[in-house]
Subunit: 250 residues, 4 copies
């Protein structure tokens, strides 16, 4: 069954920064969606910050199995009500793939309950991505490692809860190492954070990176859809017969 992906892009650098616009003429989101759509089992479309409701109307999320998120410059322009909505959908089962500087996106911080801080450097250095578990769905079809010729560096400590699994580690030419592919489950939803993707380098054009995103989209598809009510189950509906004792019995 086809995985329906909504690729969310902040779309600010893409329009304002000539270098980014040259690398990603259809926007970073456009490139990411194209890479996903190369797989016949995935159908990706785009949504951006400047659209009404940031392109994430309830009707859009109704038809979204997995949401990918790239943002950087305008995290604080994302409406908290949309963040509420996306969080709710993740807990209900929607997959979420957070990319690169999305570590500071409101939705990621919200779901992590952490600051998601890290150390960083923009020097265009080489990043080498290592596979920690070649048996993980997200690592299928990858070599033991692959290099990204030029990237921003992210270093430890990375302020996240301990992940369910560390799928990738990154090695940087400048000397750092980083947990660059990590998974989390929240409610019924699967979350994958993937480090690479600085806007001024052509990372999302790279075949291995596109492969990771396709794998992740399939891995993150919902196992089931649930709501999270908080119901009262009164004594007469309890599975066992109960004699009610009013409060403060002593």
């Amino acid at each position: 069954m086809v995985v329906r992906v909504t690729v969310w892009g902040e779309n600010v650098h893409d329009r304002q920064h000539p270098v980014v616009a040259r690398i990603y003429p259809r926007g970073m989101h456009g490139c990411i969606a194209e890479g996903l759509n190369a797989d016949p089992e995935i159908r990706a479309r785009c949504a951006t910050l400047d659209m009404p409701e940031h392109g994430l109307a309830a009707s859009v999320l109704d038809e979204t199995d997995v949401l990918t998120w790239w943002g950087h410059k305008a995290h604080d322009q994302v409406d908290e009500r949309i963040v509420d909505r996306v969080q709710q959908r993740v807990l209900e089962g929607m997959g979420l793939i957070v990319l690169h500087s999305g570590h500071h996106a409101r939705i990621f911080r919200r779901l992590m309950g952490h600051n998601c801080n890290l150390v960083w450097r923009e020097a265009g250095e080489k990043e080498r991505v290592w596979v920690c578990n070649p048996g993980h769905a997200i690592a299928q079809g990858l070599p033991p490692w692959f290099d990204i010729p030029h990237e921003e560096m992210y270093g430890e400590p990375f302020g996240i809860p301990n992940p369910d699994e560390v799928v990738f580690l990154s090695w940087f030419a400048g000397g750092e190492a980083f947990r660059s592919g990590v998974t989390f489950r929240r409610g019924a939803g699967r979350i994958f954070y993937f480090r690479p993707g600085h806007e001024t380098y052509p990372t999302y054009h790279q075949a291995e990176v596109q492969r990771v995103l396709r794998n992740a989209a399939k891995w993150a598809r919902p196992e089931g859809r649930i709501s999270w009510p908080c119901p009262n189950r009164p004594a007469e509906q309890a599975p066992e017969r109960l004699a009610v004792v009013p409060g403060a019995p002593s």
Copy 2:
């Protein structure tokens, strides 16, 4: 070394509800603090919602190793700036013990990134608390199980991230089971959620419950204090010599 605990109480039921006032004449927080202070290695004091800054001024938190949190009726009166502050302190190392209806406190939802919903029933039924790991610090000195004669029921599904460890399970006379003692680590901080403690029953007077809280206070003491900066480490400070490549090299 003494563990400095701040016992936070909402202090609303305690003043407004005669049944609660009779059971807890010095407030629920007063009873909890008294139970903690029975251990010479713990020094507990109280803070309540109605105090300036809810009693959680920065200077108070500076001298707090572990914070306990009981709230129910007035979760939405807790100032988001205080929630920010407490979250920050937990990530920096302060322990947090969340009690009973505190599952819906802003600080708990914030740190969990989840709704923390559950099923509930007020019928004064019997709760039996089982120890899942008798070797855990929080379970020291407890029997294999203990009964609380009258309690509110909380049932699954409990909307939390998968905990680091399930220390206690509860069995209810009405037929439910619940993960009633669960631990989480966030940043440098240790978090323990403990289910029992409905305001209209004398739960915090019970010896086993007091023992759990004393154990938890010691378990949650900071391992270390850290801040979580998000620094730039420029190329000239990289551990390895780096030739900087400007953006968009291709």
Copy 3:
């Protein structure tokens, strides 16, 4: 794609104990396989202790996506070489579903690294199974809870590593609670332990139990197949150029 399941049965009680033989005339494994085969996406066949290589020849495992394991009386008759083989296959990606008294099977203890001990009672009491995460693949199609009229009781503490996820909790009429559905990942393999299934009760005939097993079989299918070599990568094959420094340089 069809999930190929091998249902392993000890097949001792089934032949020697008239009560068991009456409930499970084709063996417990026969009943389990039948329940699985009710799903067109699953193709289950059986293997038993008394077969050559316990029915688990390498050629059989080559065509097994998921193995289910029920044993009780004859754990110590399972050849360690077969245990080695099954462990290796799980690490390489084969799913494993361990049932009831299989908690003490050599293969489960091997993979857990723990004793897997628990408290038990045979009194034919009622067991109620609660769903902790209705969004989990293994819980799809189940009600919030279901009752098994007569079962053996298993109680905490349960000697296992902290599971990746607690999918089910059990409530017992005799007063205990138990983590009765737990998942683990080891290497590329997914492991699910499911508590119910005492031989003298018709548990595996029950619709909800069969549903759990079908869900689990699909959940446990391999994400990928890998071997786990332990290779040397000499300096001339290192990703970065290296000048070799012989040992003890100082």
Copy 4:
């Protein structure tokens, strides 16, 4: 309270290999114990393979809070009965620190339930150890990173269950990254694996490494001592009154 550590050394290279003997004239274990004993809260003594019961008689373990393990060449000479005994003690609460090539020690493989394989290279290259969580007890007093001038390389994939926490990552000059400090809990026991420590380099003389070991020894001290029985709790001892239903009721 003093932490009583037993430092276990294989003591084969140390006696047979002149380079190792020169770096560690009192054995690697001697150097490790000395580094631990620099802390007045730790009291370390040594045990080696060539002693009766490998120096790990029950009476020794009775007085051991934390066991450290370095082995390489003679893993298969460690008596399985001693491995049984050590495993049992860890589950009961004894801490275990496994060092470097101890990843293939029988006791580590036993407790992990995994092969613990990895990629390796002996080229005397630089290893840089990064702290992932500066708030973790094991990282106290360390800088953000420290270098070990010459070490063997270990690379991913590392065949272990997903750890409770990744405390350290290593960066290698040859281009690899590795989860080099990982924690696990098994039963009441805490386990820490620490990667550095190849026999032909003076790693255990280095101040930061000694600091890690002292921190780890204190972190791993038992929270409590428990046995893991597997008792029957008959109906007449059940917490709730039970009418026994004999097997096969239908």
